[in-house]
Symmetry: C2
């Protein structure tokens, strides 16, 4: 049986209230008594039962995180940010993976509430109004991270995708490219964030005489989709004289680069390719991937910070927090255009 506050009290020859007071420094305790208590705690190796404490204080010091899949590199970075900042404020993280199922997201949110978490961060890759409404009713602070879908009005953290799309495109234009293909992920719905990036892309292209816009859809945004679209892209390159491809996500770019490698297409000599996200792999891969940095760690850190701020001050910030954009110029894009 674990040692409890009673054991400590008995050994120190004081009441449990006194022990509680020295643990929490909640009220003055005479230094001699305090010494005795501390000694007893030390001798017994006593650690307060946080569950009991939570029950009475109504503070679990727990933050719930529902993520699509911690196995995704960027999500791991999100979670790192969350965990590290939470830790600074003495919060622990309960983690659950939904694997992209909306019903699971909702179920886990409910489980987290049962565990009395004080706040929830949802890292999703799908639109899911139902879970958002559901969590909204919990009456605890909630942050929503989704790098694929629009979360208009929801408390969230991201970069300005319009601006990012614009900047990246402009960089390619500066390199001398005119026929730049924007490779998007296929989207039935228009709640996709792609909308903004494409807007930025088009705005940049429209500024330049002789630039030819072209937006082409892949079947998704993962590595395998980038690889799979290779044949089609190759055709486009030849037919339309494309010299640079702006991929809507790093993973897609990496898949496409894999295809190019396997098919003897040289990057950036034959074609410039850039990505979006700056996942870990982007800088390890060769040629290193030119990309837009989405600061995943910071996104997590800011998200949890907003939750904690609310928990401390009751101050509720609304809407999206915009983080600075960084263009990572690397090896995969050059001015070697035809």
């Amino acid at each position: 049986m674990a040692v409890t506050i009673k054991d400590v009290a008995k050994l120190a020859g004081v009441s449990i209230s006194t022990v509680s007071r020295v643990i929490n420094k909640s009220k003055p305790v005479s230094s001699e008594v305090k010494a005795k208590v501390l000694e007893a705690i030390d001798e017994l190796g006593y650690k307060p039962n946080e569950v009991a404490r939570s029950l009475v204080t109504r503070r679990s010091n727990l933050i719930g995180v529902v993520a699509t899949d911690i196995g995704r590199s960027y999500i791991a970075q999100n979670v790192r940010g969350i965990e590290e900042v939470a830790r600074m404020y003495n919060y622990d993280i309960i983690l659950s993976n939904s694997y992209g199922d909306p019903r699971t997201e909702k179920k886990f949110a409910g489980l987290l509430r049962s565990k009395q978490v004080e706040g929830i961060v949802l890292i999703s890759e799908i639109p899911n109004d139902e879970v958002i409404e559901y969590i909204g009713d919990f009456g605890i602070p909630f942050m929503y991270l989704n790098k694929y879908y629009i979360s208009s009005g929801l408390p969230s953290v991201s970069i300005d995708h319009r601006e990012a799309g614009y900047r990246m495109t402009n960089y390619l234009i500066e390199l001398g490219h005119r026929n730049i293909l924007y490779l998007t992920s296929y989207e039935g719905r228009d709640s996709s964030l792609e909308r903004y990036k494409v807007e930025g892309y088009e705005r940049a292209m429209d500024n330049v005489i002789g630039a030819r816009k072209q937006v082409y859809p892949a079947q998704g945004f993962r590595v395998e989709h980038g690889y799979a679209i290779g044949d089609e892209v190759r055709k486009l390159i030849e037919e339309d004289d494309i010299t640079a491809i702006f991929c809507c996500h790093d993973e897609l770019a990496l898949g496409l680069m894999g295809y190019c490698y396997d098919n003897g297409i040289k990057i950036p000599e034959d074609i410039s390719i850039c990505g979006y996200g700056d996942t870990k792999m982007a800088s390890i891969y060769r040629p290193q991937l030119t990309t837009i940095r989405e600061p995943y760690y910071d996104m997590g850190a800011v998200a949890i910070r907003r939750i904690i701020k609310y928990l401390n001050d009751g101050e509720l910030e609304e809407g999206n927090t915009y983080l600075p954009i960084q263009l990572m110029k690397r090896q995969s894009c050059s001015s070697n255009c035809r």
Copy 2:
């Protein structure tokens, strides 16, 4: 104020015990009463307070995970395995990142105990007898995952590194290589697992007439270390006519491959390189990395399964669980030797 069991009892016109019974299906309840209770629960949107429940049942349904850094790809996979299996048995995961500091590992272990976790998985990258002893005293099941250091006797999960080193080396030999460099991570201590891998490597080399063994240390096992050792390795290749390099970890191999790319050394035409681990990147990178698969997801899954088994049956399995070895033959190794 959240709705409690009392509210439900009042609305349903029954006692709280009855409500408890229908929630837990712990004792028979007449179907009409049950219906009333269920209705009340639904109407109020009642969710039992797990904290209160934990306090009385002494079961938190929480598993603590202390990891070095969830940002590392393989650790994310470990945690995925842990989380997914734990979930099947209704356990939640509390996650903390130690960032490799032994004192932090110990501190977090203590915090987890305070939170009444029912088991702990420690994913470490350092030797740390102190924390092991500390957790050992908690009297809860404990699994130790460390892919760099020996955990002799401790409950753990891994592949047979001796055999893996042997098999990989043999594969290179079969490809025709004779001068194979084993690139290890620098180790002052001999509690490193490298010992086993090198043993396997040497055993394979010793079997072959004309094979020349050479074990060379990098300053560590990360991508940057692989890149940094590039100059030295290049010299070795030339001087000693090395045709293949067996890197002790994928990250090291990837770093070295990056160096090769940047310096015009072709893989596998000029040199064959293989890794160890089969991290996600190994199959995305080009050329794809030939490597030994360490099944990270499974390692996590098996670890948590052993914990849960103990929790259910009280059965304690000791020592290491060995998982099958897989040799991933890919693009980075060929028989193109001089």
